[in-house]
Symmetry: C2
Subunit: 244 residues, 2 copies
Amino acid sequence: MAYELHYWDGLQGRGEFVRLALEDAGERYMDVARGKPKAGYGTEGMMRVLNSTTEPHIPFAPPFLKDGELIVPHVANILLYLGPKLNLAPKDEDLRYVAHGLQLTIADFVAEVHDTHHPLATDLYYEDQKDAAKIRTQSFLEKRVPKFMSYFERVLKQNPHGDKQMIGDTTTYVDLSIFQIVDGLHYAFPRAMKKFGAQYPRVAAIHDAVLKRPKIAAYVDSDRRIPFNESGIFRHYPELDQDA
Amino acid sequence: MAYELHYWDGLQGRGEFVRLALEDAGERYMDVARGKPKAGYGTEGMMRVLNSTTEPHIPFAPPFLKDGELIVPHVANILLYLGPKLNLAPKDEDLRYVAHGLQLTIADFVAEVHDTHHPLATDLYYEDQKDAAKIRTQSFLEKRVPKFMSYFERVLKQNPHGDKQMIGDTTTYVDLSIFQIVDGLHYAFPRAMKKFGAQYPRVAAIHDAVLKRPKIAAYVDSDRRIPFNESGIFRHYPELDQDA
């Protein structure tokens, strides 16, 4: 049976980190919310699981993966689960905790990206927290992006197997996620990202290398890849962007 | 060799979720930053790992656990690693992903608690973002706490093994973490928490049951338990609190 990925329709969002792993591995999967309601899919198919009063293990929020009866929630947890099955995790058991730690740091970064446009409350519109968003985004671009990206650059530099992958000597789901956050930053903050390649050459090289992987290149060109938009995590609001 | 827990001295913070598991299991561990610098410990002992230019797998931030050569960063990852060793994880492999998913939801909640007092920037003082903190806290108390706590209440209600533990039929690290967030909310928002026991009886019962576990009771009474304070995640700023 194919994996079922449950995530909101119409945006890349957090679901995209899982899609990239499934696509790179050429794995068959059902993107549930984008399926036909008549066939039991669509957003209502996802909501049926979320609102179930009988499921023994309910998720808090999308994305979650359904593999038969098992429901695995949270991006990093899904990748922890799928990584070895998709041949996108380190072989060494201990290194899997290290890869997972990197993915959790990426998850924290993604949460901070989200809060640039929603610093005060997720239930308020962006327009109603724009001034706070400007302050938060300035701090994000000037302090947080350099802190995270310098860290990822160090991780690559100190990898005993070389700086062509985030961990070990093969491409893992962590590299695919690095591609996604760099890609998202370019979309959201094109001015601030102008010097990114010079500032963080190793991280930028991971982005470019992942994009050249045949299955990722095909996916990004397909209509399965939803374009970035202002419903997702990475949103382009020109008034929040600033020169590098 | 004893586990080394690396976390900031002087606050419970995120390190406390790991301490509770180690303490409940009666495991020997070194709380590195609280140790003597002369013996290679203290904050400088922790910073030596964080700033290392030779470690193959550096953490982004505390807390991290050192078990021999292996460095495991992030609370949920540490508990995933330690859980089975401390007999605080489900026996079933699949259920470990479910437990980890619950812990990651707790981690998201903890990040939202932090942002109540730091909504605009972690590098600004609370005093410089107090107005934004009031708006964010109101949304947190009125929308987010009910969303998370109703979810945890549902998880308990739908546990096929009964509502005395968050998952399966034994106490796990997830229950210990539920204790910690409920305890922290009582400290930070005593007015808002006045009706908590009536609103979320199953979650409140987990808190009380964990506090009765002999090793947790002894720990909470010891000077190893740092009191809540305004350097931690849960901070008591009376101006942010509001009636339930």
